[in-house]
Amino acid sequence: MLEHLELFFKSIFIDNMVFAVFLGMCSYLAVSKKVSTAVGLGAAVIFVLGVTVPLNWLLDQYLLKDGALVWLGPEYADYDLGFLSFILFIATIATMVQLVEIVVEKFSPSLYNSLGIFLPLIAVNCAILGGSLFMQTREIPNLGLALNYGVSSGIGWFLAILAIAAIREKIRYSNVPAPLRGLGITFIITGLMGIGFQSFGGMLTGDNEPPEPTETTTAKTEEIKENKEIKKEIDDEERTISYNEVINK
């Protein structure tokens, strides 16, 4: 529970996709001229991240990791297919985006009309592939946390694009120096927002460590409205035990 909360806040504020690691900047800059389109794209990103990160977690866990193929039999324990992760992740993402597009078009034409045009854009959005790759390097321990990570990173991205779109709508009335107009000022504003977001760094105590429940968590539980939490106590321990048994044999 606590680790879910911690990961949730960490992914939204501290490791914000846009301000801390600059993922999805291309669409962030291109689609942030109006708030309404920004909301559409942001929602699509949350959705696709929420689907692809857990899927890629499963792929990573049962196919790609060092020794992940052990479920096929003990003789597969030495295989490390890690070098295939880029191609598998991007294929999963492209397929999922296509699939989601078809399903949404079929079952909810109104949602399709608002999200639809953004879905193909998303296949090549670095935030989506970045979400999966960071999930892999940060060694998220179970499926529930992977889902949490996907959704909360998406929310972080959503917040960022919403904020910049609102600022860009207002800044039209300001007298910006001509060479800075448009792109230049957007970069500088994003930089300033990023500095603001840095101050969230003090919110949790662990700096770049993978989240672990510490007694000094400062997150206030009353403020949490949304906590996508799926209790799935994956039988990790059991699996490692059987894995060890297999190795001992």
């Binding site: 800059l29 991007i90 790759l133 970069f187 300033l192």
Partner: protein, 215 residues
């Protein structure tokens, strides 16, 4: 230029300044910002993109009459992903420390919009030689901006270039530091990259006013 006709030379020279992928076309920002705290990482990133874009453009251009247009995105992704895996494995084998610094950003070359953008806009409609030149030109335009950002961030932030101290030693107070100069820690943190890009755009557009955007 005996080697290249004027038109071909323009394919390389245009993206360096007036049609720069980062400052004008706004493509491939993601990786450009995250790894530019050190000059060395910027140069390696620029070289990786040079390889992927040059080779990828040629492959796509050779295949352009065979790829059905409906599934072209996925074909393009597979081509890029293959090339990026090669880059990643080479980096891991010969420059392990550096590949740790670049972490996921090597993988993110796959979704670098410059690459998909050039495939779509150029390689699908032109021959291999032209596509190759176009790829090299755009990758160089991308690399130049990366090196400029990396240069200023490393020089002002850590007082080093490629890891060599060029402004003296901050601990023993030699060189500039003897005069009371201090490193600007602000340049190391991620948001500084955005501000540096903003300033690069500002300078470029002040010099060439035709590039200024309306509104």
């Amino acid at each position: 230029m005996a080697l290249l006709s004027k038109k071909d030379a323009n394919l390389i020279l245009d993206p360096l300044a007036d049609n720069n992928p980062i400052t004008i076309q706004v493509l491939g920002i993601c990786s450009a910002l995250a790894i530019t705290a050190e000059l060395k990482a910027s140069v390696v990133m620029a070289l990786s993109v040079l390889f992927v874009l040059g080779a990828g453009n040629v492959v796509i251009s050779l295949l352009r009459n065979v790829i059905p247009s409906k599934i072209r995105i996925i074909v393009q992704l597979v081509v890029v992903a293959t090339l990026v895996i090669i880059v990643d494995q080479v980096l891991k084998a010969f420059a392990y420390e550096l590949s740790k610094t670049l972490s996921v950003f090597v993988g993110l070359i796959i979704t670098n919009c410059i690459i998909m953008g050039r495939f779509e806009a150029f390689a699908l409609g032109n021959g291999p030689w032209k596509s190759f030149l176009d790829g090299i030109g755009n990758a160089l335009g991308y690399g130049i901006i990366l090196v400029i950002i990396g240069f200023f961030r490393e020089l002002l932030g850590s007082g080093t270039l490629f890891g060599f101290p060029v402004l003296g030693d901050p601990v023993t107070k030699t060189g500039l530091y003897a005069l009371g100069y201090e490193n600007n820690g602000f340049m190391i943190i991620p948001p500084a990259a955005l501000i540096v890009v903003g300033i690069v755009i500002w300078v470029q557009r002040s010099r060439n006013r035709t590039l200024i955007e309306e509104a």
